[in-house]
Amino acid sequence: MLYREAGQYKSSYTADMAVFPLREDRIGLGIILLIAFLVIPLVSTPFFIGSVMLPFLVFSLAAVGLNILTGYTGLLSLGTAGFMGVGAYACYKLTTLFPGVNIIVWIFVSGFFSAAVGAIFGLPSLRIKGFYLAVATLAAQFFLQWCFIRIPWLYNYNVSGAIEVPTRTLFGVPITGPTSSVETRYLVALTIVVVLTWFASNLVHGRVGRMWMAVRDMDIAAELMGLNLLRTKLLAFAVSSFYAGVAGALLVFLWLGGAEAGDVFNIRQSFLILFMVIIGGLGSLIGSFMGAAFISALPTILKFGLPAIGIPIAGATAEHLNLMVIGGLIIFFLIVEPHGLARLWQIAKQKLRVWPFPY
């Protein structure tokens, strides 16, 4: 009754190929954006914005990037955190070398650095496939992590060995550094994420997305249709790393305000983002957001939600429980719904279409 496609005729191919063909979906999207841009900054506490929404945004972007590589193109990558790090350090060097240029520009430019590195580490994908390629990306992860720690030029020879984010402004309002407010940082991050997700959606629904999925499903047939395999795979690596790089820059500059490579760009992080993509749904942009929401919200839910309903839980135990739940859920999802939360959401929408009838 609420969610019907009856009466919505498509009279042109353009309309038929729309990303959200149903009016209800478009309304839903509008509402979500409205809530994100207006309601949340006005209503929530700085803690919520800083510790739940910002990480959610950062990881969603990284998950979108990884989904492009692993979900749409079928190239398993375990080096996402390393590429995020490239973006973060590139942004740091650029903004300290050229402080006059607006930080937003540098955030985007650092994505390109990340894309270049990603493409280089994607070169083996011509000869190496599947699981072995994953190991190559693991090499990238370890190597990049080593670089972040052992090349002091990258963190400007800071004694702490970490990035220290300087204050940068946009239209006179500080958006990075200690003087910026959490709401401004949130809004900037939100805008960037929305814009980049729009780009990703356009790519994925068009010719490029089809190329990637063809390579994923049967690369021999794709080649026999004229697709240049190496170029397509490298493009996937490059785009995916671009997103990871921007996410890394956002992580350090807009969320944490400073970071140490060993903590935030390590192998654990790479796996966490992979889990977001798996739980959310491989090959689904919405899934990336759902997976990111789930995994970034889970520790907070466990730490604060359980005591709230009366189950006392120590901080450390919450950590361990967090890991166990994530691990268990991955197995659960892979058994029950390998296509992740996104598929569950689709099924829910199907049910909603025929509601209140059962089928």
């Binding site: 042109s12 191919y13 353009t14 190929m17 780009f199 356009n202 790519l203 629904h205 068009g206 010719r207 490029v208 089809r210 190329m211 999925m213 063809a214 994923r216 499903d217 049967m218 021999i220 047939a221 794709a222 080649e223 026999l224 249709m225 004229g226 697709l227 240049n228 395999l229 493009l235 090959g283």
Partner: protein, 266 residues
């Protein structure tokens, strides 16, 4: 208008010529010194008992395998080695024995994927979708819808191909090959696993493709009835060697062919 970089051939001219091609894998000789030609506009059948090397022959034409000996001439250009993507760009399209569709995509997307070579809008415009990218998408969609109408698969447009029955999958695969607007269409056992009705439909499509679009077709087929009815000329392979070449009626009466199929002791 650029002059085409291959000669414009008239119907009847030699489109593809296989000259003394041999193919070996380690100790196994898949093809030995095979020569034949395919003329523009004809339907050429390649037949033979199992293991004769028919699929290997197609793979050589396609560039998937590289012959150990001999040459292949296509549209006036001779080459030893060719990458499959080059073959595709040269105008050779193909279907496979075990349907090689993109199982994660719908029928429509699969056939649209076949238009990849024709879609040139750059990455930059793809980022925005609306604009040149959308216009190109709609143009190609029109062509693909034409193919969908032709193959009568409108009702399964949006269905993920993994869910389709085998016969329909083969039809979608044909559609994807047609989307490339090929000069030469290679069909590897297009009727395999089909019942009589489906075979009649597929035969009709193949004939229509040949007559309406003038596409040259080379097909591997086991069903003798189909071969006799459809093809203009036939090549017969056995154990990697050519044992007969000519019109269907001649080949049918050739003693060597009969022996090969009946399994006479050598």
């Amino acid at each position: 208008m650029r002059a085409p970089d291959h000669p414009i051939l008239a119907k009847g001219d030699v489109l593809l010529a296989v000259e003394n091609v041999s193919l070996g894998f380690g100790g196994v000789k898949a093809l030995s010194d095979v020569s034949f030609d395919i003329r523009k506009g004809e339907i050429r059948a390649i037949i033979g008992p199992n293991g004769a090397g028919k699929t290997s022959m197609l793979n050589c034409i396609n560039g998937f395998y590289h012959p150990t000996d001999g040459r292949i001439m296509f549209q006036g250009k001779t080459r030893l080695k060719m990458r499959p993507s080059e073959a595709a760009r040269g105008g050779i399209a193909r279907t496979f024995q075990n349907v090689a569709l993109f199982k994660g995509m719908s029928t429509l997307d699969n056939i649209m994927a076949g238009r990849s070579l024709k879609m040139k809008t750059g990455f930059f415009w793809q980022l925005f979708r609306h604009g040149p990218a959308m216009r190109e998408e709609v143009e190609n969609r029109k062509v693909v819808e034409g193919i969908i109408d032709f193959l009568e698969i409108q009702h399964i447009r949006k269905v993920p191909v993994g869910k389709l029955p085998y016969g329909l999958q083969k039809r979608v695969e044909l559609g994807r090959a047609l989307a490339m607007e090929p000069q030469l269409l290679l069909l590897d056992e297009p009727m395999a696993g089909m019942n009589l009705e489906e075979k009649e439909d597929m035969s009709r499509f193949i004939l229509d493709v040949n007559q309406q679009f003038g596409t040259t077709i080379a097909l591997i087929e086991h069903d003798m009835g189909v071969v006799m009815d459809l093809s203009d000329r036939v090549v017969v392979l056995e154990y990697g060697r050519k044992i007969a070449d000519g019109k269907p009626e001649e080949v049918k009466r050739d003693q060597r062919v009969i022996d090969a199929y009946l399994g006479v002791a050598h």
